[in-house]
Structures are given as C-alpha cells and as structure tokens.
Amino acid sequence: MTRPQNQGNSQPRWLFPFVVTVIFCLSVLPLGRLAATGIMSAFRGGASELLSDPGLWRSVYDTLSTSFFGMIAAVVLGGGFALLLTLFDIRGKALLGFLFMLPTMIPPQVTALAWIGMTGPSSALLKAIGLAPPLGSPQPLYSIGGIALLYGVQNAALVYLSLRAGLLALPRDAVEAARLSGASSFQVLKDVILPLSLPGFAAGAAIAFVSCVGNFGIPAILGIPAGIYTLPTLIYSKFAAFGPRTFADISVLSGLIAILSVIGLMVEARVLRGRDYRVIGLSGQVAVFRLGAWRWLAELLLWLTIFLILAMPLIALVASSLAPAYGVPLSPATVTFKAYEEILLRQAATRIAFTNSLSLSLATAFGLLVVTVLTGYFLVRSKSRFVGLISALAEIPYALPGIVLAVAFILLFAAPIPVIGISIYGTIWIILIAYFSSFFAVSLKPVVSAFRQLDPSLEEAARLSGAGFARRLADIIVPLVAPAAGASVILVFLIACNELTVSALLWSAGTQTLGVLIYNLDDSGSFNIAAALSVLVVIMVIAMMVVLELMAKRLPKGVVPWRS
C-alpha cells in the first residue's frame, strides 16, 4: 500500500526524463549538430573558399539591405496602425486590427504571388481595368525594393503587436498626471507616450528584422528571377545544385543566418528585459485621445492602407486565378474556373500536396499537443532549477528562421540513424520531425498560459480523492486546459499547413507540401494554377483565424497571438 515517492510534488518520476528527452531531440540535438558541422568546416579551412566567394558577400549585403528596408517599412506600417488604433478614437478598431493581422498569417509565397498579380505588364487585374503597363516593361517587384516592401507588409503586424502591447501597458496615471500638469494632447503624446513606448518600437523592429532575414517565400519568388539571392535562397540554390561541399557550405550559411537572428533577438530581449510584452496589458486601459475633425481623415488613411496591402493583392490573386492563362486579359467573357478544376479534380500533384500538408499539420498539431501538455505541466509545476533552461531551449527552434532548422535536420538525418540503421532522409518523417521541432514553442505557449491560470488546488483536491497522475490528467487537467489546447492545435495547424521554408529543403518526390507546390507551380510558369491554389489557402487561413477570434473570449490572455 505505501508507495514511497521522493518529492511531495505532483509529477510522476518519468516526467522529468521525458521532458529532457523531448527537448534534447527537438532542440539540442539538431542545433548542436548544425553548430558542430559549421565549426568543423570553418576549422578545416573548407569555409575559406566559401567565405572568399564574392557571391556570398553579395548575398549577405542583399539580405541585410532587404531586411533593413523591410524593417523600416514594417515599423512605418505597424507603428502607424498601433498608434492610431490604440491611442485614438477610431471607429471599427477590432475589425481594422483583425484585417491588419491577416498579411502576417498568409504564407509569404502567396503574398508574393498576389502582389505579382497586382503589378507588372501581365497583371490580370490591371489588364481588366486597362491600366497594365505595356508588354516588355519590367515587373517592378523583382527588385531589392520590391522584396523589402513585401517584407514590410508581411511583418508589419509584428511591430504592431509589440508596440500595442507596450502602449496598453503604459501606466494610465502617467498620462493623466501630464494632462493635469496642463500638457496638451499633442504634448502628452510627444513627451510621455512616445518615449515610454520606445522599447515596444525597438523590440518590434528587432523581431521584424529577424523575420525578414529568415524569410524564404518572398525572395524565392521575387528575388531568384532577378538574380537577387538572400541567404535563405542562396542555401536553397546551393542545395538544389548538390555537390560534395554542399553540407559544409549550407551549415556555414545557416550559421550566418543564425548569428544575424541571434543579434536581433538579443536586441529584443534587451529592450524588453523583464517583461512578457504579450501578456501584460489592462485591455484598452490606455487613455484615448480625441481626433475631432481629423478622425475621418485618419480612418480613411487606415482603410486605404488595408485596401492597398490586403484587399488589392487578394483581388489580384483571385483575378489571376480566374484568368485562362498568365497574361490573358480578364473579362466576363474570359472568366474561367479551369484552374480550380485542375487543382481539385485533375492534378495528382495537388492531391498529394494537400494530403501531405493536411496530414503533416494534423499530426504535428495533435502529436505536439501530447508532448506540450506534459512539458507545460512540468514547466509550471516543477520547482526544478532547470525550468528556465528548458523553456529557453524550447523557444529557440521557433525563434530561429525555419531554413536554419531545415539545414540542421538535413545534417542530422543525412546518414542513416545509428543503431537502428534506418534512413528517414527524403521521407515525410524528416519533415514531420522538423515540424515538431519548429512549432514546439507555438504549441507550448497557449498550454503554459492555461496551466499558469489553473488553481493548483483543483489538482490537489483530485490527488486527495485518490486520483493518480494519468487519472488526473484525463479527468481534471486536460478538460480544464481544453480551450487553450484547442487554440494550440489550430495555431500549429494554421502555421504548419502554410509553411514553405522548412519543407522547401526537406521535400523530395512524393512528399511535397502545399507551400512547396505553390512555389513549384509558379516556378514552372503555371501562374494561374498557383494563384488558384493560393486563393484556397487564403480562404483556409481566414476561416481558421475567425474560429480563433471567436474562441478568444474563452482563452487565457496571450493565447491568440493577435489579441492583446
């Protein structure tokens, strides 16, 4: 009857080894392997050839310049939206905020396709309204500026969220005290709010920069045709032209990306030291300034921006998908659903990609949930010294660009797994494991927030009732964190389903994902089919975001990433 147990805590003995094993396999092992290969090839002098290649430095320069200008665009767009929507009496804030988040959640390769459909001589949309530039004129987006602009659109929401969280956490009395001292609204804004919100600006800019550095979809579609290679697309092209030095080269290249990202993340961590910027915030407690006569002008500006960065590209995307072929003008007479028929009924490749992406995403979302419920439980309940280290290690794979992780997994699994001698390289399993690693933090965050909110006595009462760990898990813990777990599943599914960066390097015949397929279709000139597939993807993204939005009231704070 007496069952000795070493600690008074509620965790079974196997939980700590389990969590350590998971973190080791998903974070330490791949990243350690990448670092080892990178350092070894640097020491053997093999890297000197790569590092003396002017193409590499050209690529570093292009990465930095596109990311820098992309960051500026994101700060202007996201900062403007955050300031206007948080501080002023704009109508329709909730809708504007939701729409502004959409470009971030739409996969980058789809964004790129949509914008291509909106500009240039072959735009179905521009042709339909007779505004297309003459044939033979260049596509303006195939340039450093075009890539940077789309980086800005894609990542503006990151700056928006960071700054908005900072603004909502502003002490309201600081604003009121300034007003009582006789400061005008404008002076309060200039002297109190903007200085206090600088960390939010800086942190948002830093994560936007990291996100730009790691972006693959946009430079792959806009840059490669113009001969512009950022580091992620350089890795991709080196990998496509496989040679004996490929592994050494890509490990050094992804090391460079990792270093750039870590610098950005360190800037972010430094300016935000000690505050979890997404959880703090008394919802809408910030003082609202009246715009008076300027209000309609501000609202017009906001809606016009939404129209330009969201509605227009999506209309162009739909138009491209309905045109019979790339470059044929769209009119009521030429509208055709042939592209959709191709995707849904004819092409085996799309069916395979749909099946792959859906089953990978479902397996990742639900499989990770099992792991993250246990890990989250451990992180919240344990008094272990290693909690800080473990949660940091869990965050790293998601914080690093996907391309770095993909390279790490290639290096790890290129040779058959020791002992069991099976090779998973080139199979769907390597993508699944990379997804597990990459989206671990996405899945973990909502679950940890839910556990933090859970009164420990609910579980203690179950222990005194005689329920062991498995029983408590099934009867008490899982039902109580179910809403957050549901959000976690949807979020992971949403991100995994649209993901391109990881699978771009890991796919092979028969294992292509939706992201890869859209890219390949565009690459091979089937623009309208790629556009039709993108339209379906966008519809799926919006549907899932709406579901999350509707669930948001029942979820702990910070679970739905675009609600603060």
Partner: protein, 342 residues
C-alpha cells in the same frame, strides 16, 4: 482510524533558508478536532500541506497510528493517504456538476452505479444540497460551493479531514452558518479534523483542541477553555481572546493567577526589575468607586456595552467594558478582578 502524530516535524524550502516549520511535535487524538491557529506566514498551512502529502518534511515524521506517512526519506503520496481536504478556494472542478464533483473520489475508487448514486445523495443531503445535484459549481453561491466541497470530503469516510481557512472567503453571516455545518459534520463523520485558521474566535468555537503557532514553532496546544484561561507566553496571550498585556514588576514566587489584592500590591509596589507580562481580560476590569486610577483613551459603542481603552498612570493601556457611557479623558478608578501572568 487512529491518532495522527507529528514527530519533530520541520520544513525548510530553500536550502539553508529559514525553516517554515520548526520542530513541531503534536498528537491529534482519534476523532479530535484540532484548530491550527496563528498569524499568516506562521507555517500552519505548511504543516497542513505536509499532513496532506503535498510537501515532504525536511526532518521529523508524520504517523497515522502505526503507519509512517512521511519522513525526510520517503513519503506516501496524497493519493494513498485516505484523507480529504476543504480548500480556501473550494477547489471544485468547474467542468463537472455538483454530483460529479462529490462522486469523483468514489469514481476513482471504482465504486459505480447505484451504490455511488446513493452515497452522493446522502452526502449532499448532509449539507442540505440535494436539489442542486445537477448544477454546475459556477451557478452556486460561495457558501453553497463550500458545502459541496465538504460533501466531497464526507463521501469517502476519510481518516483525516483537513480544512485550510475554509471560511476566509465568506461573509460574516455565512461563516456562522458554516461553523454550524462543520460541527455537525464532525459529529456525524467522527473523522479526525484539522482546521487551519488565523481567526481565534473561529478556532475556539469549533475545535476540541487549539494549537497556536508562530514563526514556524508550536507555542501551545490545549483545549479552547484552557488556552483562553491559561495562555503560555506573550504571543499566545496576545493571539487568543481580547485583553491587554501589562509589563509590571515581576511578582515573587511562581504564582500565575492574581486576584485584586495581589494586583493592587503589584501596581502599588515600587518599580523594579525584572518585569513580567501580565494579561488582563477586559471583562475582569471593573469600574469601581475606589481602586486604581485610569484615564479613558477611547470609547467604542458596541450595542450591548461600551468598549473602553484606558491608560494607567504610567501610560500602559488596558481594555475594559462599561455599561454606562463615559467620555474620552474622563478619570475613572478601576478594580482588576483577575490577571494571568504569561
């Protein structure tokens, strides 16, 4: 069932830090109702959590009869202790109905069907909540939730029932009603009960024994009457009941209870060292025609009487009651009928 023994129990949370519980030895007789009384942070909740099995002792042991529940080396997990607990936050599972909450310990023990239904009905009847069986905890008031938590304890006939400040979140009217429920519950179940509280009136009204703790140490264990009449030391004297503690020249001998002639002698005697702490209860202070001079510091009308704070000539404060109104800074003379040396 058997008596619960705490044997030189200690708990230190951080290595080398201050002990939260320090060398506490205590025996709770079978079927006893012990109140653990002390200010917040005194370690009483830690003792309770060690008895429940949520914390492991750093030193010492806990025994239930012959069975060792915990010592510094190993412990029986809470799942296997056959104890039950009423939490300050009630700890009802929001996703289960009232009947499911109460029946959960039975479900875990594999009791099902008609037998479980009957036991749940009986437990709910005992706390007068039969008609609420299908409600959710969220639909109940605070007092009703507390009664559901109590029914959940009742249902498995536990050896020991632990109550962690169960009335802290209730208003005064509900507290009295719940005190009655707890007394009934104790009489009906015959379980050993341990009740943690910082409210001395609650402790004395409910318990058969009161244990007073401060800063991790156990100061005194006794019946409510004993601890009220003969508290040990300044801390217990200040914590239990009303009263003022005077610092007076230490009387000779080991006499502890003083009547008025003895008090008069001490008060009138010369100031000298060493001094002793002497507890004077307000009901033992009488306003009389002749006696010790005192000045009224404050008056509070309590309905049935006036509560006074008086100052002795040397400035020490004393509490007293008066049936008649007096005014601040009135000069009175008082007689101290009884006083207790701490």
């Amino acid at each position: 069932m058997a008596k619960l023994i705490l044997n030189r129990l200690s708990k230190t949370f951080d290595l080398g830090g201050r002990a939260a519980v320090n060398d506490v030895s205590l025996t709770v007789r079978e079927g006893g109702f012990l109140a653990l009384l002390g200010p917040s942070g005194c370690g009483k909740t830690t003792v309770l959590r060690m008895i429940a099995g949520f914390e492991q002792p750093s030193d010492g042991s806990i025994l239930l009869g012959e069975r060792v529940l915990a010592d510094a080396a190993e412990m029986v997990s809470p799942e296997h202790r056959n104890m039950a607990m009423v939490f300050q936050s009630y700890a009802l599972w929001p996703h289960m109905s009232v009947a499911e909450n109460v029946g959960y310990p039975l479900k875990v023990r594999g009791i099902s069907g008609e037998k479980r239904d009957r036991k749940v009905r009986e437990a709910l009847a005992a706390v007068h909540l039969e008609t609420y069986a299908n409600r959710r905890p969220a639909d109940l008031s605070g007092g009703q939730r507390q009664r559901v938590a109590l029914a959940r304890c009742l249902v498995t006939e536990p050896d020991v029932v632990l109550l962690d400040e169960p009335l802290a979140n209730l208003d005064r009217h509900l507290r009295q009603e719940m005190e009655e429920t707890f007394r009934e519950f104790h009489a009906r179940s015959g379980a050993t009960m341990i009740y943690v509280t910082h409210d001395q009136a609650e402790a004395m009204a409910l318990a058969t024994d009161v244990a007073v703790m401060s800063e991790g140490k156990l100061l005194q264990v006794a019946t409510p009457e004993e601890i009220y009449a003969r508290p040990e030391g300044r801390l217990v004297g200040g914590l239990v009941g009303q009263g003022a503690i005077l610092s007076l020249p230490s009387p000779f001998g080991d006499r502890r209870l003083f009547d008025w002639p003895a008090m008069q002698e001490i008060l009138a005697g010369p100031a000298r060292e060493p001094r002793a702490d002497i507890l004077v209860r307000p009901q033992d202070v009488e306003i009389a025609a002749e006696g010790q001079a005192a000045t009224v510091l404050s008056v509070l009308f309590e309905g049935e009487r006036y509560a006074l704070r008086l100052a002795l000539p040397d400035g020490q404060a004393l509490r007293a009651f008066s049936r008649h109104p007096v005014k601040v800074s009135d000069h009175l003379s008082i007689v101290i009928r009884a006083a207790w040396r701490l």
